[in-house]
């Protein structure tokens, strides 16, 4: 792919064989086709982008209208009649004890479930990466095998188990279930990351007489920061957005926002003033986390592509 400088075509300044020159070498027709298809690509991507945005915008605008307006016309009418916008639905929603209580429950479930998975997963990940014990690799492969077990398999057995030990319906039960099904991914991700830590670092600390626990807290956890952040964000979103597990394991008083909203869906039209703002509020935190920690989220998604 060299361009003999003497062979430059009419009107093309003699230049080093840069990408520019290569482009100029191609026929006029090819260049026109490029410009046209470039325009087409832009239009196509804009249309697709709009299609991806519009549903969410529709939800937001729907949440800002009265149920009466919603019953009579589409949300896009707001664009021509901005006076329809009202925060009434949000105000009533925040005075609704069931909804505010369920938001609190979502937090009470999500935060411990995330922290526990991170801590327990890190301990096990470190053990699998750097400790010697018989059958280590087999145990690890077993955990990896559990990565793809569908949660559905456990719903009924665990419901009975929790019933027997008296935590069915409680927040603790929901948390435990999420921890159990978050662990295979946590162990998998962290073990692989910890295994990349340079051996000399750990050896040096061991020679200094540090115990395993101290090594873990002082060396491994700080170095594992990026992976721990990815895992934490992934698990946080996973638990925050869950509906199925809480639908089964949480009593009425302990249900998170997803389950509280789900009970209103059967009468969709009548409850739109709860559903639209409720859904939007439930999305605010995950979206904030998503935008703030995009990089970590993406690397978590990549590592978890098998889950």
């Amino acid at each position: 792919m060299s361009t003999p400088s003497g062979a430059a075509h009419d009107g093309v300044p003699k230049a080093a064989p840069s990408a520019e020159a290569l482009k100029a070498q191609r026929s006029l027709g090819a260049r026109i086709a490029d410009v046209l298809s470039g325009g087409f690509v832009r239009v196509f991507l804009i249309v697709v982008g709009l299609f991806w945005l519009v549903p969410t915008i529709g939800l937001l605008l729907s949440s800002l209208r009265t149920p009466a307006d919603m019953g009579s016309s589409g949300w896009w009418k707001v664009l021509s009649q901005p006076s329809q916008i009202t925060f009434d639905s949000y105000q009533r929603l925040l005075e609704n004890d069931t909804i505010t209580g369920s938001l609190l429950n979502t937090i009470l479930i999500t935060v411990p479930a995330t922290l526990l998975v991170v801590v327990i997963g890190s301990l096990a990940g470190y053990a699998f990466a750097w400790m010697e014990f018989p059958g280590r690799d087999w145990w690890f492969l077993l955990v990896v095998g559990l990565l793809v077990v569908p949660v559905q398999v456990a719903l009924l057995p665990i419901a009975q188990l929790f019933g027997n030990i008296g935590i069915f319906g409680s927040i603790i039960g929901v948390i435990l279930f999420h921890v159990g099904f978050g662990l295979p991914f946590a162990v998998f991700l962290l073990r692989n990351f910890f295994a990349e830590i340079p051996r000399e670092l750990l050896e040096a600390a061991r020679l200094d007489g540090a115990g395993e626990l101290r090594l873990f807290v002082r060396v491994v956890m700080p170095l594992g920061g990026p992976a721990i952040a990815s895992l934490g964000i992934f698990q946080f979103l996973w638990v925050w957005n869950d509906m199925l597990v809480a639908l089964i394991f949480a009593d009425a008083g302990n249900q998170p926002i997803t389950v509280a909203l789900q009970t209103q869906v059967r009468q969709f039209g009548n409850n739109i003033d709860v559903l639209a703002p409720g859904a939007f509020i439930s999305m605010v935190i995950p979206l904030a986390v998503f935008f703030a920690f995009q990089k970590q989220f993406v690397s978590g998604v990549m590592a978890g592509a098998v889950k």
């Binding site: 492969l141 559990l146 009924l156 921890v179 692989n192």
Partner: protein, 427 residues
């Protein structure tokens, strides 16, 4: 290796293994055993529960739908992800686009379900999908303005079958024709309608008026005659028919008057059915026949971004020189895409496809939320059926059989993961 070391390792592992054992491994064993027992759990029934999977009508629907899901959703999401990943490389705002498409992954399926309930609302005045669909449809197909118009008493018109109306007698050039109808609600008349005028006679041409022969408060006024406050039917299509063939046609003006050429002399005038068709009302997205594709659409909205991001990462690893060289050699963009990009991305595409397949196998929330009660049975999937069997039908045996069936479907992926990792672990 010392004994204390081993103890320390055990302590590090204990919490994880304990939880995994109790919450993940134990349920697998439990489901396996339970699936061979009857409803009460007291007597062994062999494979009866599994036989039920393939005979029960509602479970069969679930299996059929799950098959559609697994075949369609991952393929479409991956294809879109590939297209987006390749195209975003050619615009400067590619990152912004990726953010928009990837964003739905961060929200709950419940929120996405509510979002798409709104999108799929049947009424084209309220549901966005139908608003767009009807808009496109009406651009390409004639919409009718007079859905309920029909001849009144003693009208010169009669029904011509299929919703059209035709004059009882042939018309003559130079003799103005009246085509009065009734039945259009005043607020449904097109805004362009003007007070109707009796048509003037024109030699050699057929002229006439078509209008709403009804004066509010006074009934018909002069029957089959144009009264002062009566409105014309703008845009009404009029055909002249001779021996079953259309010899001329025209549309009425705002005041309802129309003119046809001399060819219409001696023909019957017909108002074709297209004038009276009910307005197009869009698609019943969440009705029994379309509900599964509609829910799959919402899933693709959520997960195409996942495919796009993974594929874009793979694409970043494709050597640029290779693509540039092919272009210089005269390969078209399509050839570059088809012969170089896709083959190089094959491993990534496979990972994305398999991941989405496993994900789709367990699909629950969207199917639980989006279909209204009337079409939920048609939208049934295995995860939903399991939930119902276990927690509302009180059929733990069947629920366990479904669980084992789901598990069996992911076993190949499980083994693949283990094999892939065994190579890495043994490095």
């Amino acid at each position: 290796m010392t004994g204390t070391r081993r103890t320390v390792a055990a302590l590090f592992l204990l919490p994880a293994l304990l939880l995994l054992g109790a919450l993940v491994v134990y349920p697998i064993g439990y489901s396996l055993v339970r699936s061979f027992f009857d409803q009460s759990g007291s007597s062994f029934v062999g494979i009866d529960n599994y036989r039920e999977l393939f005979t029960d009508k509602s479970i069969l629907t679930a299996i059929k739908n799950n098959t559609i899901w697994v075949v369609v959703a991952p393929a479409v999401a991956t294809a879109l992800g590939l297209i987006f990943a390749v195209l975003t490389e050619r615009v400067r705002w590619g990152t912004a686009f990726k953010l928009v498409v990837f964003m739905p992954m961060a929200i709950s399926m419940l929120a996405a379900g509510i979002i798409f309930r709104l999108v799929y609302e049947q009424d084209p005045d309220r549901g966005f999908a139908n608003a767009v669909w009807v808009g496109v449809h009406d651009t390409f197909a004639e919409s009718s303005a007079f859905p309920k118009a029909h001849p009144g008493a003693e009208s010169p018109l009669k029904a011509a079958g299929g919703g059209a109306f035709i004059t009882k007698e042939p018309v003559r050039a130079g003799e103005p024709v009246v085509l009065p109808l009734v039945g259009v609600a005043p607020d449904q008349l097109p805004d362009s309608a003007k007070p109707a005028k009796a048509a003037a006679a024109e030699p050699g041409k057929v002229t006439g008026t078509t209008w709403q022969d009804f004066t509010r408060g006074k009934g018909v006024g002069e029957r089959n005659g144009v009264d002062a406050s009566e409105l014309g039917y703008p845009g009404m299509k009029i055909e002249a028919v001779k021996d079953g063939k259309v010899v001329d046609s025209t549309r009425a003006a705002a005041d309802g008057t129309f003119t046809l050429s001399s060819k219409a002399d001696g023909a019957q005038l017909r108002l074709p059915a297209s004038n009276f068709r009910e307005p197009y009302n869009g698609v019943d997205w969440l009705g029994p026949s379309l509900v599964t594709p509609a829910v799959i659409g919402s899933y693709i909205w959520m997960w195409a971004g996942f495919a796009m991001v993974l594929i874009a990462a793979g694409l970043a690893g494709v050597p640029r020189e290779l693509l540039e060289a092919a272009r210089v050699d005269g390969a078209s963009e399509w050839q570059v895409f088809r012969r170089i990009t896709v083959p190089l991305l094959a491993p990534v595409l496979a990972v994305v496809l398999v991941t989405l397949m496993i994900n789709v196998l367990k699909i629950f929330d969207l199917v639980f939320i989006i279909p209204p009660g009337s079409s939920q049975d048609e939208a049934n999937v295995l995860a939903l059926q399991l939930y119902r069997s276990a927690f509302s039908d009180d059929q733990p045996g069947i629920a366990s059989a479904i669980a084992v069936f789901l598990l069996l479907l992911v076993v190949p992926v499980m083994l693949f993961n283990i094999r892939r990792l065994r190579r890495e672990v043994r490095r």
